[in-house]
Amino acid sequence: MITRRHGRKKICALLTVVLTTLTVALSGCSSDKAGDSAKNSGAGSSAASEQANAGDTSKLIVGIPQDIDSLDPHHMTGAGTKEVMFNVFEGLVKPDENGNLNPAVASEYTISEDNKVYTFTLRDGVKFHDGTDVTAEDVKYSLERNAGVDGSEPLISSFSEIESVNIVDDKHVEVVLNKADSELLPQFTVAIIPKANANPETNPIGTGPYKYVSNAPQESLVVTRFDDYWGEKAFIKDVVFKIEANSDAIVLDLEGGSIDMYARIPSAQVAQLSDKFEIYEGTMNLVQALYLNNAVKPFDDVRVRQALCYAIDPQEIMDFVSDGAGTEIGSAMYPAFTKYFLPELNDTYNHDPEKAKALLAEAGYPNGFEFTITVPSNYKQHVDTAQVLVEEFKAIGVTANIQEVEWNTWLSDVYTDKKYESTVVGFDASTVSAGALLARYESTSSKNTFNYSNKDFDEALHKATETADDAQKTEYYKECERILSKDAANVYIQDLPEYVALNKKFTGYVFYPIYLQDIAKIRPAE
């Protein structure tokens, strides 16, 4: 008797599952068709706050995906924290949207002939958020705090090269290195903070266009415009960074008005947004490619690598993966680095399956070959790309098998141990420098995941790092890109699209070549 009743219960439960599925499906249909009315009714209480905020452009609420991990600029680790605090803190130099490093707290800098002494001239009238002037003493303190002068591990590893930070006079600070390095400049974006502040962790004081007001963990970070900012002042007075723990709620919160802006919104969610929002389409700043292990057969043969390059069609991949959005790339550089990007390299290998087959035959693989593509399973865009690649390689008689791995497995097997044949991922740049993307191709680099080795490349890279002259340096970096393209070091595909949704009350969102959000450039639409 008991078991029979139990059995009934199970069937009841099953029917409930069926009904729930149907309900979800049907409600999905209705909200799809009914559109705005359904969305508004769902928003509920947030609709009220929207009315209070409607037309008010003095306050911008930005949704961010994760909590602020530290308020001390030198101890922040998360990219999501750094991108927000970019608005509060500044370094001696500061990146701009084209990938240049412009003087900020310093008004100018000189690098000595031998690349061993960096001299910074402090800008007049730069004030901290507490109203005090920035002094050479503060600069020395900030740099030394990161260089580990007290014998501790340097917070910025390349600052271990710093021998001393000297105050020349009130307006000049010189940094002396113990070995030549012309690539250290991007590191001077590190925040300058006042020496007098005893608690940088709880009382963050910087020199940026916005100053810190309050922080509620797991909830929000509030900043307000700094009116004594030395440069172009911010347009919007109050900015709230609201933590959106639930990524499924982004659309609802944007529509309901509880947030005005959200960066890196998935394209499937962009499709659900109403015309109340301006969608800015930029790029993710990644070099997405089918990365090949140049040390394993058959990828040790340049003709095989070139054949694969001829076999793929980046536009077709974009059509499948992101509805045609994205930017084609032809070497290890993404287009947001306008200074270094070479669009002509996109045409080194245009889609040509016949030529690919001819090259394969020449290399001794007239009937193609079989290989494995290892893909981290948490990156849907890379898994999707791999699936399109498999189809494209079929056309030249090459069989590719996909193997999905978990992210940590990918890091240990592919990135560190180099036990792989090929992989689809995107590499990004940690600093605003072409070197951040290109240095890993040096034959001796520990980060050379691809086992790529070319004497000409190494030479060009060395010249680039040794030269202090920026124009010449850029030229050498471009030479590096050309070599990678000619050698078909990897099958370069695209820089994936990134979407930012901004309420039409505001305008002026600007994409940067690295991971940050410049709120000071956003202004009211009227």
Partner: protein
């Protein structure tokens, strides 16, 4: 022979559970068998022009985000899901029955130790176990089968042990013992056939759990590798298109529901068979 067949048929017709179970499972099996020989489209054939289409005559379950025919993929995917579930239950039931029968029959210290190990296995979530196996042996569906199979052993062992314990004290076992029947014969000839009803329905329930567990593990990228997909994998791929193309997640979802429902009815029917 023919009489027996009609008799079984009549009996099935009389029991609504059995009837529904046979029909639903039959439809699913038919789809799988037909899929071996014929599918409306190649399940990996992509088409940029036909991305994320709804239900139409051309694609009766619509298309996915790569423009592949969902119906063909469901046909292929239910084969994968079915085989994984079958294999899982086979491993689980085989090893579980053996362990359960031996521990239940012999008892003592051996029983104590084995059952505590089984208890410890219960404490591990099967997902964790699967991840450990995958990190040691790599991804693929043999690994998935192995990890799910191992995860299913404890529940079978428990059920069989309980039943064997119950049978051990019955009169017919006692009398067989007096006749000097060997232990092996006792377990496999006298006891196991008497618990087949319970075993059969727990196998069918286990089959359902295996279908759902496979769907869950597919979220982690364990199991069948793209471009091929199991039903669970399709479902997890489809979730971000739930509002734009509801048919994409609805169709594989409904097939999973049907598969589970069919086997549940079948299990209930078999339990009431006698």
């Amino acid at each position: 022979m023919r009489d027996k067949f009609t008799e079984v048929f009549k009996k099935i017709k009389k029991d609504p559970y059995m009837c529904a179970g046979v029909i639903i499972t039959g439809i699913i099996l038919l789809m799988i068998v037909v899929g071996l020989f014929w599918m409306p489209y190649e399940p990996t054939k992509m088409s940029a022009a036909e991305k994320l289409q709804g239900i139409s005559f051309k694609h009766i379950m619509g298309t996915d985000n790569m423009g592949r025919d969902v119906f063909s993929r469901v046909m292929y995917g239910s084969r994968v899901t079915f085989l994984i579930a079958l294999g899982t239950v086979f491993i689980g039931a085989f090893a579980g029955t053996l362990i359960g029968a031996l521990t239940g029959y012999f008892g003592g210290l051996f029983d104590e130790i084995t059952m505590r190990v089984i208890d410890a296995m219960f404490a591990f979530p099967s997902i964790l176990l699967a991840l450990v196996i995958v990190s040691v042996f790599g991804t693929g569906w043999m690994q998935l089968l192995l990890s799910l199979g191992i995860a299913f052993i404890p529940s079978f062992a428990r059920i069989v042990r309980g039943e064997v314990l119950r049978c051990r004290n019955t009169d017919y076992v006692e009398s067989a013992k007096l006749q000097g029947v060997s232990d092996v014969r006792m377990i496999f000839v006298h006891i196991l056939p008497n618990i087949k009803g319970v075993l059969a329905s727990s196998i069918l329930i286990g089959f359902n759990n295996a279908v759902l567990a496979e769907a869950g593990l597919s979220y982690l990228g364990v199991g069948s590798q793209p471009p091929y997909a199991s039903l669970g994998k399709m479902l997890s791929d489809a979730q971000q298109y739930m509002f734009t193309t509801p048919s994409y997640c609805l169709c594989p979802g409904l097939v999973i529901v049907l598969m589970v429902l069919g086997f549940s009815f079948l299990g209930e029917g078999i339990r009431r068979w006698e």
